[in-house]
Amino acid sequence: MKRNLSLNKITTSKEPEIKVKELSSPNQKIDGTSSRVPGTLDDGEPKNDVVTKIKKIIDAYQKSMSLEVGTTPHDVVKETRLYRLLHYKTTFHVPIRPPVLIVYALINRSYILDLQQDKSWVGNLVKQGFDVYLIDWKTPSLNDKYVSFDDYVNVFIDDCIDFIRNKSSAEKITLHGYCMGASMSAMYCSLHQHKIKNLVTLAPVIDTSKDNTVISNFAKHLDVENIIDSMGNMPPELLQTCFSALKPFKQGVNKYFSLYEHINDKRFIENFLRIERWLSDIPPIAGEAFKQWIKNIYQENLLVKNEMKLGSDLVNLSRINVPFLNIVANEDHLVSPDGSAELNNLVSSKDNRIMRFPTGHVGLIASSYSQMNVLPKTGRWFFLRSDV
């Protein structure tokens, strides 16, 4: 044992010194090179680390607005202050006639029907050879607070149908609506049937006496006159509040757990974010139209009683006698399936069919199930009643 008197240290036999080199970043290897693979999602960080996953979630949400939606090629063939008429570019040399006009609802945006390439309702119909048009409703301003259902049905939809008939030289078209758009399509068909060859509705709001959903419960007790008189149009914040009460934990909370679990699945994330974008993309609804929607349809149930008036016209659903297909989602928590199915009992069509599917309101049009099950049957129904 040697004693270093100057340092007062007692040293034993010489032991090798172990130098610990501190890494400047988590990506840096011991030999100084980086483990990061540039230009890819693989940044070399541990993928299952909680902090990393949370960072990825935040990053994904920030990039969500840059994800493309409504990518099926189309032209805007008509545009006004309140709507655009989109014409999808057909893949067939001669598309199947008559043309199909899709009427979307006034709630959220129409790109849910063309969310992404592998889950596009519109895209699938175009691939099947149909000549597809879509009414994309624009955002109403406070100047449009007196735009009513009479305007939406008897002016805007009618204008679009006349435009399509002139453009495609078709005497009649197939009218196809989703949700509130399906209700508007049914109203239109009862008033202007001479322009319609076939009617197809997806989850229409018809008989609200059979509707026990949360939305129906709120709507039936809403003092809509007071709200619209003071606010003009129905503001998106109130709509958002109402929708957040639908499956608040299974969808509102559980979806974030799913997101966390699948954060490394790029396809899952992109689909998830597109839906999130659509869910938060809520425009206001024109005041008068919203008032009629809540009072006449939810509170007074006039559509079923054939007492609903659009301007001076009385909507009588029993006048509908064109070939009719009603597509209903059995697990729909926004629109009661029994309320939707009632439309088949109200119309006078001899060619009258209902198709029920075990899926939800949005799943009916924007899911893999829809692509595999709903669309082939819907397309076949269209085809059998086409001009081919």
């Binding site: 100047n143 449009d144 607070k145 007196y146 735009v147 009513s148 009479d150 305007d151 002016v155 009618d158 204008d159 026990n212 959903t213 949360v214 419960n217 709120f218 039936k220 007790h221 809403l222 003092d223 007071n226 709200i227 008189d229 003071s230 606010m231 109130l238 009460a245 499956k247 608040p248 934990f249 299974k250 909370v253 559980n254 757990f257 301007g311």
Partner: protein
């Protein structure tokens, strides 16, 4: 100090506000003739709006207490049911057991909160809250009417009248245009 329930508190609070309002109303029975009659009229109108605002605030308070009472009761019921399922709850030994607990919690809360949102009582309370908020914005809007008049500017009701007329005119023009198109197309057929 005597403890009272939330509903009793709401009632007493409303009664108090109403009694203040009636005293203030009596106090404001000022003469409207004479030199300062327009000023007194304006002052009375403004005071009435202020009273309406006060009684609206008391209703709003009552409704918001009601709202939170219902939400809290639902939360308590959910927790109670979760506790009652204690034998089924896992020991958190593995990730699967944590998932099982999470799923159970979500199911229980979903059941009770959906029942709440589907109940008439909750929807009536929510509707009243929204109605109170709308009335509040209405009263605020009306409060500034006199100042718009002073500045010779139209108020909201007058603008609304114009918008309504414009929308009706647009509909009429559209119908006329359609009829004209129909007549023109019929004439073409006749000529052919």
């Amino acid at each position: 100090m005597q403890m009272v329930s939330d509903q009793e508190f709401n009632k007493k609070y409303e009664e108090l506000i109403n009694s203040y309002n009636s005293i203030w109303k009596d106090f404001l029975k000022l003469p409207v003739t004479g030199q300062s009659n327009q000023f007194i009229r304006t002052f009375e109108e403004d005071q009435k709006k202020f009273q309406d605002l006060l009684s609206l605030c008391s209703k709003f308070q009552s409704n918001i207490l009601n709202y939170w009472m219902q939400v809290n009761q639902t939360y308590v019921k959910s927790i109670a049911e979760l506790q009652s399922k204690k034998p089924e709850l896992p020991d958190f030994q593995s990730e699967e057991e944590v998932k099982k607990y999470k799923n159970l919690t979500i199911d229980v809360f979903e059941k009770y909160f959906t029942q709440l949102f589907q109940s008439k009582e909750f929807s009536v309370t929510t509707s009243e809250l929204l109605s109170n908020y709308s009335s509040f914005t209405h009263i605020l809007g009306n409060a500034f009417d006199n100042y718009f008049k002073l500045l010779n500017l139209p108020n909201r009701d007058e603008i609304d009248m114009i918008l309504k007329d414009m929308q009706e005119l647009k509909r009429e023009v559209y119908k006329l245009r359609k009829n004209l198109d129909l007549i023109m197309s019929e004439e073409k057929l006749v000529v052919k």
